[in-house]
Symmetry: C2
Subunit: 358 residues, 2 copies
DNA sequence: CGCCATCATGTAATCGAATACATCGCATGC
DNA sequence: GCATGCGATGTATTCGATTACATGATGGCG
């Protein structure tokens, strides 16, 4: 069926600048017929232009452009068993922290001819798995996941998965993340250096290893300063602004005394600042606040937020580089790459005021 | 080649709970061989279970689960000519406005068995086009674009494209967006009602029709109030926080007199507030600020931002519903669906202070 | 002059699943 | 007892590209 008919044979010269051929979905066969060559030649003209005779190539390219042909990627990918597509899984696109990581991923991806598709998982295992299945189903070559779970993909050997921002215990999975223990410790060290003695901590979800690390950093820093770790000053939240608000509300309602709060991410810190000010407490005069991540909004809160800046772009770039390496050679040994994060001091921190609060 | 060999024949009963068969990539042929049926039966057992005999079906399903078989989606999609995948293009994932729109899109998509992949375009035509080509290349069924451009896709008839949040002139493209003229007008009406007479306007990129509309709403509201439209009070920006900052800096450095600023989006409003306060002007006592979008952070600025709330979730839901409708029946007439946006009054607006400023 | 390398191109197999059509067995009706 | 229909399954084609291998033309060289 589908015999080109009408056109075909000797069309190339005549119709070059004729009215645009009505846009249609074309196949390589049609292009071959119009250009009077075989499908193999068309394919070669598009894939490895250097092996086809120049005039033939130009003729084919002209036809392709004129009739508007886009090769069917499904057929091509089926045959070649690669898609040049990778999926980046992020828990929450509303979290500005990930934006820049994504940007880093995309930069490196494009340099190597990969496209990036984003999947929002809302931390749901089901949805993580659904996107991961795209790899099993051969719709994508690999995955960068920004959660602390590795989806199951039935495959031989190494999974084409790289973990970014978080990390998993599985030694086989390459990860890029920051030294959360050290970074959190540095933040608390700074508060201690300012003179704070009662430092509250708003933790993230305990299911996430990096949150455990941030808490560990907090504890170690207190120990270094010979300060007691007071469980009553430790609350946990789910990374949302509201959670930060609730955490501080809780501390205040319990009548806890503290002159600084260290939060496991910036959004909770923003919530914390809000709760403080709605209780008439000034930041940083009455209470200092430190966040983690350095999201874009952190410098626009008032006062601007002191926070631990993760190298977001580098995290993304490095993750993608690792994935590309892995896709090129499944034998490369897995690595855990640890970057460093630096404290950025802004206006939300100051020495504690002499008069004891509350 | 590839004769299953070893196993095959009569394995089903014996190995049911044997040690997991080493994970490998399977094909429908292998499954058929292991289950002792034809590929057609395996395919049917998976696609239309009701047409295969129950015992056969159970046997096949058991094998599928045991050896870990995921059908090759490329092959399937190639054959069936549909992917059940749609791509949502957004200019900037860092912009929290889009997050909720995406969420609406995903909700409806999943209800109808579609998966959503996100493509960040950074407003680059090239990148928009690259993602759009996925449709031409049959890797996705349709596109929801949140920019004011419609990518070119060589296809017969209606393009499987829906426009959300923005809109394009092209009558053939369905769109969902809010009545920006009315919404901007309502915001300015409110400022007028509070007593403001000198209202500055920070516009968005003039290339975007919705920005033109917001400006039109501003002008009309001023006219309704018999106030002059003063070009000196109108500045434009690119939707970033920094742009809002720069816009207000400019007005102040020019010595312009105004008691309120209406910004085309929340991020510019946040920038505006920052510029005002860094010049010692209090919001709202000295200058009132109104934004547009109602992003999540809008209620956490201090003071909380008065803004025009777009029905973000509904925009997403409606866009996806339209796309699904369109994919099911390319004949449905295109529609421009206009939702309404409501002013949310928070703390950044107040009547102008009696003493003239500057 | 004939052999062979080289270049350009064509033919046909292939990727893995879906499915139209064919086949087979068996029960039902006349 | 035989035609009919139906349910269950198998055979073989198809989707649209890539690519190994075959073929044919050309030219250089001994």
């Amino acid at each position: 069926m589908s015999s080109e008919g009408s056109r075909g044979k000797r069309s190339t010269a005549s119709a070059t600048r004729a009215a645009a051929t009505p846009a249609r979905v074309r196949t390589i066969k049609e292009i071959a017929a119009i250009a009077n060559v075989s499908v193999a030649t068309v394919s070669r003209a598009l894939q490895r232009p250097e092996v086809v005779n120049e005039t033939t190539r130009l003729r084919i390219q002209e036809v392709v452009k004129r009739v508007g042909y886009t090769p069917n990627a499904l057929a091509r990918n089926l045959r070649t068993a690669r898609t040049r597509l990778i999926v980046a899984l992020l828990p929450d696109i509303a979290n500005p922290f990930f934006s820049e990581v994504i940007r880093g991923i995309e930069q490196v991806a494009h340099e190597s001819g990969y496209s990036v598709l984003l999947g929002e998982t809302q931390s749901s295992l089901v949805r993580e798995q659904a996107y991961a299945d795209m790899v099993a189903a051969r719709q994508a070559d690999g995955i960068i996941t920004m959660s602390h779970r590795v989806p199951k993909i039935p495959m031989p050997g190494r999974l084409p998965v790289v973990n970014a921002c978080e990390y998993v215990k599985d030694k086989q999975i390459s990860s890029v993340y920051v030294d959360n223990v050290a970074a959190a410790g540095a933040a608390v060290d700074y508060l201690v250096m300012l003179g704070h003695r009662q430092i509250a901590f708003v933790a993230g979800p305990p299911s996430s290893p990096i949150c455990v690390d941030r808490e560990k950093g907090y504890r170690l820093a207190l120990q270094r300063a010979k300060l007691a770790v007071d469980p009553a000053l430790m609350v946990s939240g789910d990374f949302s602004i509201e959670a930060g608000e609730r955490a501080v509300e809780l501390l205040l309602s319990q009548g806890q005394s503290f002159s600084a709060v260290f939060c496991s991410n910036d959004e909770m810190a923003i919530g914390a600042m809000r709760a403080l000010s709605s209780h008439g407490l000034r930041v940083p005069e009455d209470v200092s606040v430190v966040g983690f991540d350095d999201i874009r909004f952190a410098r626009y809160t008032s006062p601007a937020l002191t926070t631990v800046a993760q190298p977001k772009n580098a995290l993304g770039r490095e993750a993608m580089a690792m994935l590309i390496e892995l896709l090129a050679d499944p034998e490369v040994p897995p690595r855990k790459r640890v970057l460093s994060a630096d404290l950025v001091v802004r206006g939300s921190t100051a020495p504690p005021s002499p008069r004891k609060r509350k």
